[in-house]
């Protein structure tokens, strides 16, 4: 079936003749006979009606929980209606990378606005147009800090394990060493960090809030890294960034993170949005696209992809990153989200997360056997012990339409956002109580 091919068989025949051949086969003369297959061993095509039915049936095999108390790198937040509507505009959805600036001012300006917002959130000077996700952003950020003399990357053990696994994979590729800085009371052990840093250390990477939800003393860790001549890289949650000390205030050279909380659904892990900002000094090491302001020949303000001398299509094997496509539509989504909420709205999302998480922590930890594991300040995630097999707790909560905390070593990692009502939190605590009996 010629699904999205407009030309009819009759037209195709005429076009073949105009192209100077008799049949389709003649167009593939360069393909050796031995390589030409008779046909693919996959089913015949479906009508739109049937295909819709197939996919909808598959969707019904999933469960979307009414109450979600799980984060660990993917967060359940409210998405204002305007965000999805704007991010579905066909012009944005169906455009390629804005190589032709004259007819791409819309995308380019939206990138410029996104870069500005990311700089505002992190306090740093320069942002790129996005990378694949928070984990690959962390790996790219570590890559920015490496040079011939300093190639080892230090990662705190309090970093999300998927993020540290990604950094390690990139370091394996680059033949660079990775060291893991141990924990003390759920946060990075600053003394251990100081003793592990040396002349071969390229950077120290930490996460704020960390994987267990705790707020680290980032300024102190940054000082330790700088004291040894290493760069300081912070992975940050963009919602928390609305109220926490900025990476700039903590002395970070590079900040990065996962911006999925800014208007993207959880969607089984993607598409999400990696962001990266850096000090002006590091700007020419940033990977990926960057939009800049300039003017056209009539003197009109305009935007264009710039500083391309960093990129793969110019530097080829000397480029520090090979990134080409990024997550532009997700960056646009985040921009619309941040514009819709504004500074006050974003702050209230963050405050709601903090308040509800603390309320929930109080409720949950009041249930016997679910005590808080750590004493430090936290944002919207925290770990409690778990008196029973974590999988059985997970299962009994699922029966009440609750996605409970993620089983982690030592207990359960809970996440509470503005989406969780007081009623949901109270029912969760009740369910845990009942289950314990």
């Amino acid at each position: 079936m010629a699904y999205y091919v407009p030309s009819t068989e009759f037209e195709q025949q005429e076009m073949l003749e105009k192209a100077g051949v008799k049949a389709f086969d003649d167009l593939f003369a360069a393909v050796p006979d031995s390589l030409r297959i008779k046909g693919l061993n996959i089913p015949d095509g479906l009508s739109e009606f049937e295909a819709r039915g197939r996919i909808e049936a598959i969707a019904r095999k999933n469960r979307s929980f009414k109450s979600v108390f799980r984060g660990a790198g993917a967060y359940n937040h409210y998405i204002p209606a305007i965000v999805k509507q704007i991010a579905s505009k066909e012009e944005f959805v169906t455009a390629y990378t804005p190589y032709q600036a004259e007819i791409s001012q819309g995308v380019l300006q939206s990138i410029f606005e996104f870069q500005t917002m990311m700089c505002e959130l992190t306090g740093l000077d320069v942002s790129n147009a996005s990378v694949y996700d928070g984990a690959s952003a962390a790996a790219e950020a570590a890559g920015m800090c490496r040079d011939k003399k300093r190639s080892a990357v230090l990662i705190s053990e309090s970093v999300n394990p998927i993020v540290s696994s990604t950094i390690k994979t990139y370091c394996y590729a680059a033949n660079a060493a990775v060291k893991t800085v141990p924990l003390k009371d759920g946060v990075t052990d600053a003394d251990a960090l100081a003793s592990m840093l040396d002349g071969a250390s390229a950077c120290f990477y930490m996460q704020q809030p960390n994987f267990y939800g705790l707020i680290e003393d980032a300024g102190k860790l940054g000082e330790a890294a700088h004291g040894a001549g290493a760069k300081f890289v912070m992975g940050v949650n963009p919602i928390a960034a609305a109220i926490l000390k900025t990476p700039a205030e903590c002395g970070a050279d590079v900040a990065c993170g996962e911006a999925q909380p800014l208007g993207m659904p959880m969607a089984f892990g993607g598409p999400y949005l990696g962001f990266m900002t850096a000090t002006a000094e590091m700007s020419r090491k940033l990977p990926g696209r960057i939009a800049g302001q300039t003017s056209d020949i009539d003197g009109k303000r305009a935007f264009v992809l710039t500083l391309q001398a960093r990129e793969q299509h110019i530097r080829r094997e000397k480029a520090s990153s090979n990134i080409c496509s990024n997550q532009a539509l997700c960056a646009l989504t985040a921009s619309v989200y941040l514009t819709a909420l504004g500074p006050g709205g974003l702050r209230s999302v963050a405050e709601s997360c903090v308040s509800k998480a603390h309320y929930a922590a109080g409720k949950i930890s009041a249930v016997k056997g679910f005590g808080l594991l750590h004493g430090g300040e936290f944002f919207h995630e925290f770990v409690t012990s778990c008196p029973r097999d974590a999988a059985s707790v997970e299962k009994s909560l699922a029966e009440r339409d609750i996605l409970g905390g993620l089983p982690v070593p030592g207990g359960l990692l809970w996440c509470v956002t503005e989406m969780n009502t007081k009623e949901q939190i109270d029912s969760l605590a009740e369910a845990l109580k009942e289950g314990a009996i």
């Binding site: 050796p32 994979t169 969607a267 006050g344």
Partner: protein
């Protein structure tokens, strides 16, 4: 037009969240930032108009012909987008218990099975988020394979001089030295040079076939054999798979690992730069090294499994899941015949256009092309001073997106044209007429072409100034 920051007025907002229903908790002051981020403060109607204005200044596939070579700008079917917005998919947390995410896992499992058949591979991962990310993953598999055999002498990756910039950049990122092999007079890999380059330091070869000149390398079986005999592996850059899907398979050509651009060949939209998907398929010998986790089926259910010698993660979770879902929808709708039919018509449309332009423009490699072809404007530049840039910019005034310019690097004043199969004959005829008209203007009044475009929201930009004096964010203290 103004930036959102310039439209911002203090105090404007609209209520999104309800009032707090729990006691307010404040974090200690020493943990809190000094000043709030200066985000725009706008009313909802103005936000809506702001982005409509931006959309009007953006050219997508739906706005007109988009023959951007190597990017396969085909139509993005609406059904795919609708399926990707089903709450049954968007509301699933990536770390849910597997028994509650069986539908998502089925999507990935089914897409893997179908795309393995389409490419002739044994296993596939959807974790890589884009083509270049797929290249990185694929070459890492090659690296891990050599390492697992204790073969440490392989330090080089061979890349033809017609390759995309991402290929050598990928080799660099994965710790390899790049050996460039020149193309022969026919545009294919020069076999003698390849034989000279291949040796016991060869880790692998990265190749696009059809290549960036739009030519299928007729010596492909010799090429992959030379690399295998030297002990290396063959990497297939799937950027140009649209020409041969359902016709021939990289797995049968001697390739050990491929990446696909689901946002090109399999019709998922490109979103102004992404998200895409750089799915990586491999032969069984590389399967143990794939990123973790993999999805397996047993006892009537799907579960996760980490491959024994996995290279780890190249990003979090399972890739751009909703992109994979769109691609699966596409494959299910087209089916075996529809995919081959798409490839055939992509090749037909390219040949139809090339033939209709070949009397007024120089085709870099005349003959039959695959899904794209390259014009060289070297003579036009010499004779009339009209460059590939001038012709491209002139197309903008006709509401068309120009072809890829100045690539591949081995063709001077190159314009690389890829019409795709979803364009009608009338659209192709119109584009042909426009390009012919521009060519005749180049003879009569070249200055007009140097001045183009005239009718776009902005005209040619000062790109040198942009790079020399970078302004990369809004200046709140008076925009300079």
């Amino acid at each position: 037009m103004k930036l959102s920051f310039e439209k911002s007025r203090k105090g404007r907002s609209f209520p999104v969240l309800p009032l707090l229903d729990v006691p307010k908790k404040d974090l200690p002051g020493e943990l809190v930032r000094k000043t709030p981020p200066r985000l725009p403060e706008m009313a909802q109607p103005d936000i809506s108009r702001h982005y409509t204005e931006l959309a009007k200044r953006t050219h997508g596939v739906n706005d007109g012909f988009y023959p951007l070579g190597s990017c396969t700008m085909k139509y993005n079917p609406k059904l795919n987008d609708e399926m990707a917005s089903l709450p049954g998919f968007t509301g699933v947390h990536p770390l849910q218990p597997p028994e509650t995410a069986q539908g998502c896992m089925e999507v990935l499992f089914e897409a893997e099975k179908l795309l393995c058949e389409i490419t002739g591979m044994d296993a596939m991962t959807f974790q890589p988020a884009a083509g270049a990310h797929g290249e990185f993953t694929g070459v890492l598999l090659i690296k891990a394979w050599h390492d697992s055999r204790g073969d440490k002498k392989r330090t080089k990756i061979i890349v033809p001089d017609s390759a995309h910039g991402t290929n050598p950049a990928t080799a660099g990122m994965t710790g390899y030295q790049v050996v460039n092999v020149p193309s022969g007079a026919d545009g294919g890999v020069n076999l003698d040079e390849l034989k000279k380059a291949a040796g016991d330091d060869t880790a692998g070869l990265m190749l696009t076939n059809p290549n960036t000149l739009g030519l299928f390398d007729k010596n492909i079986l010799d090429i992959t054999r030379i690399i295998h005999e030297a002990g290396g592996l063959n990497y297939y850059d799937g950027a140009n798979l649209n020409a041969v899907m359902g016709i021939a398979r990289p797995g049968d050509m001697g390739f050990d690992v491929v990446h696909l651009n689901l946002h090109k060949t399999f019709s998922t939209p490109h979103g102004g730069g992404g998200p895409g998907s750089g799915a990586v398929g491999c032969k069984a010998l590389l399967e143990p090294f794939l990123p973790k986790p993999r999805i397996v089926r047993g006892n009537g259910a799907y579960s996760f499994e980490d491959p024994g010698q996995s290279v780890g993660n190249v990003k979090a979770f399972y890739g751009n899941f909703l992109v994979t879902l769109r691609a699966l929808t596409y494959i299910l709708t087209l089916g075996a015949n529809g995919l081959a039919d798409a490839a055939r018509n992509a090749v037909l449309n390219a040949n139809y256009m090339m033939k209709a332009l070949s009397d007024v423009y120089d085709v870099a490699y005349p003959g039959i092309c695959m899904h794209e072809f390259v014009l060289t404007l070297e003579n036009l530049k010499k004779e009339r001073g009209v460059s590939a840039m001038d012709v491209a910019k002139s197309m903008l005034d006709y509401g068309m997106h120009p072809p890829t310019m100045y690539f591949p690097l081995i063709v001077k004043e190159a314009l690389m044209i890829e019409p795709t199969e979803t364009e009608s004959r009338e659209t192709l005829d119109e584009a042909i007429a426009v390009l012919r008209e521009i060519r005749s203007r180049a003879g009569a009044d070249p200055q007009k072409l140097h001045d183009a475009p005239l009718g776009t929201p902005v005209r040619r930009l000062d790109e040198v100034g942009a790079a020399r004096r970078p302004v990369l964010k809004y200046n709140f203290d008076g925009n300079g």
